[in-house]
């Protein structure tokens, strides 16, 4: 064997062989269903195609031009951001307070914990249907409750002015337990010595919570914000089941708009354009938020 060739030790060769062998299944699956699919989504966005015909006319940037002037899409994007902001503003503080309650009361509050956790176990579809009937103006739960307070029949989902907020409330109902358990884990991971020291120094439970525990859970909070944001941007199931984006587009989200274009009206090309735009928007937003949060974290 010529000595000039850089020799790879047999040991290293066996490492590379094993690595390749063990990584092939994972990257095969990711390659087909993720990398290729994303590429194909962008690719299809340049065609005007219904998904059935053999003829697939190339239209260049036409779909993208249509998208940039599509008021319905921008409405959907705006709605997505409303969901993002309201989810963070409502879910995180309530989740935090509930976690504080459970942390303070301890094991005795197990009934609370169990009931509060239930929504997280149901599928979004089931929750969507359940609340469709809870919100039903005639046979639901909202109208009778409104009647006790002297109100009439309330049609939350049929009114474009409030439908989005009604749906966001359901989303909060679904995910508050998640943040509750998340913050509860955070609270109980804080060292007990910190609590003891603060009590010895005369802090009350409330002061401990607001002045000591909350600042210490900063990173947990940042993670929760990012989780909530990414989740809200791709939200789909529940809204599709409850309103299909209606009435008159008031609850339309990017994902429901994409879905309806692609699978209800069979505009696969334009659907792919919306999907690709969605991908770009989510990636960009996540990157920017991550960067901002990191910088804020370094300063703080």
């Amino acid at each position: 064997m010529p000595t000039s060739v850089k020799r790879i030790s047999p040991r290293q060769r066996s490492v590379i062989g094993t690595a390749a062998l063990f990584l092939v299944p994972a990257f095969l699956v990711l390659g087909i269903f993720m990398f290729y699919s994303i590429y194909e989504s962008f690719h299809l966005s340049f065609y005007d195609w219904n998904g059935v015909t053999i003829d697939k006319p190339f239209v260049g940037f036409d779909n993208w031009k249509t998208l940039s002037g599509d008021a319905r899409f921008w409405q959907a994007l705006l709605n997505n951001f409303k969901v993002v902001i309201l989810s963070i503003v409502i879910q995180l503080p309530i989740g935090m307070l509930l976690a504080f309650f459970l942390d303070t009361v301890g094991k005795k509050a197990n009934v609370f914990k169990v009931v509060w956790f239930l929504p997280l176990l149901m599928s979004s579809v089931a929750i969507g249907f359940l609340f469709k009937y809870v919100f039903d103006p005639v046979f639901g739960l909202v109208s009778p409750i409104a009647a006790w307070f002297g109100g009439g029949n309330v049609d939350l989902l049929g009114n474009p002015q409030v439908a989005l907020f009604a749906v966001i409330m359901v989303i909060c109902w679904q995910f508050i337990p998640f943040y509750m358990v998340y913050f509860l884990a955070g609270l109980s991971s804080l060292p007990i010595e910190v609590y003891e020291a603060s009590i010895i120094d005369g802090a009350t439970r409330a002061r401990y919570f607001f002045a000591i525990a909350l600042p210490m859970l900063r990173n947990t909070g940042i993670n929760a914000v990012i989780l909530s944001m990414v989740g809200s941007l791709k939200y789909f199931d529940l809204i599709y089941v409850m309103t299909e984006g209606g009435p008159s587009g008031s609850t339309e989200l990017m994902a429901t708009y994409m879905f309806k274009n692609a699978f209800n009206t069979m505009k696969m090309g334009y659907g792919s354009t919306i999907a690709s735009a969605m991908f770009l928007i989510i990636t960009l937003t996540s990157l920017i938020t991550l960067k901002m949060m990191r910088q804020g974290g370094e300063r703080g």
Partner: protein
């Protein structure tokens, strides 16, 4: 004694503390009501006759133990949806756990040139929204003739649960001390053998937690199931609600029965293994 401690605690607490605790307790009770009421509504309605809601109002107790709704749903194809869901989840879960354990072993134990970039790619995949891939995967499924077959769901389910699973298992395997393997290697064990003999058995607790998280996710998955299957006999549980809704549009109590039956397996699992399930569900929280 207990009361004495409580009294002392209350005396120690300031007014602000007490006020805050009062507000939080009120919130807790309010949330108990808000979180629980829809479930109570769902369970009670399932035992009502179709017209009871119309006649007695939604808040009334059921007139009697009426079980015909359950009979109708259970004999109306529900079992088929249930078996479909179980088959898809089991097959996908098996694949996810094995494939991710293989990959996690590489990322946590083997040193080679492209390890970190490859790992970054896997981690980045966690942020990919499924809706970007929905149309291409639909096309692909049509092309290979798997459309409207429950096995069409396995591929996408494995793919979308893989990145997080690899990420979690890599972290888990990194925490396994490496001296056992080193001595095994000195004894002549190959990398592949150490994986199967040592790392895999020691990773089982991590895989169990991960399995719970993935199962709940797939059990409730809707978008792929809606797009890739069409006939009732090849649809999964989340779609059962969809199908029954088309069938019994005006029959609210029947829909509530379907909802109760779909929620039941998860709620039973929750009762049996509360802490494990909570822990499993929180695995997803690392995503940020």
């Amino acid at each position: 004694m207990k009361q004495l401690i409580l009294m002392r605690k209350i005396r120690q607490a300031s007014w602000i503390d007490l006020g805050l605790f009062l507000i939080i307790t009120l919130l807790a009770l309010a949330w108990l009501f808000v979180a629980g009421l829809p479930f109570v509504h769902m369970f009670l309605s399932a035992f009502k006759k179709q017209f009871e809601i119309y006649n007695n109002g939604v808040f009334a107790w059921p007139d009697g133990l009426y079980l015909d709704n359950f009979k109708a749903v259970l004999t109306g194809g529900f079992i088929r949806y249930l078996t479909n869901s179980i088959i898809v989840v089991l097959i996908s879960l098996f694949l996810i756990l094995f494939i991710s354990a293989f990959a996690a072993y590489v990322f946590s134990r083997l040193k080679f040139r492209f390890r970190n970039p490859l790992y970054s790619i896997v981690v980045a995949c966690m942020a990919i929204p499924i809706h970007v891939t929905l149309i291409p995967i639909y096309m692909m499924t049509q092309k290979i003739g798997l459309y409207d077959n429950i096995f069409a769901l396995v591929g996408p389910y494995v793919a979308f649960n893989l990145p997080l699973s690899i990420f979690i298992l890599t972290g888990f395997m990194m925490d396994i001390p490496s001296d056992i393997e080193e001595s095994a290697e000195i004894d002549g064990c190959s990398k592949i053998m150490t994986f199967f003999r040592i790392i895999l058995p020691l990773s089982l607790p991590g895989m169990a937690t991960l399995g719970i998280y993935n199962s709940v996710n797939m059990w409730n998955e809707f978008s792929f199931a809606l797009v890739l299957t069409q006939k009732a006999s090849s649809r999964t549980l989340p779609l059962a609600i969809w199908e029954f809704q088309g069938q019994y549009t005006a029959n609210i109590t029947m829909i509530m029965t379907v909802l109760t039956l779909t929620a039941l397996p998860m709620i039973l699992a929750f009762i049996v293994g509360q802490d494990k399930l909570v822990k499993g569900m929180m695995v997803g929280a690392v995503k940020g």
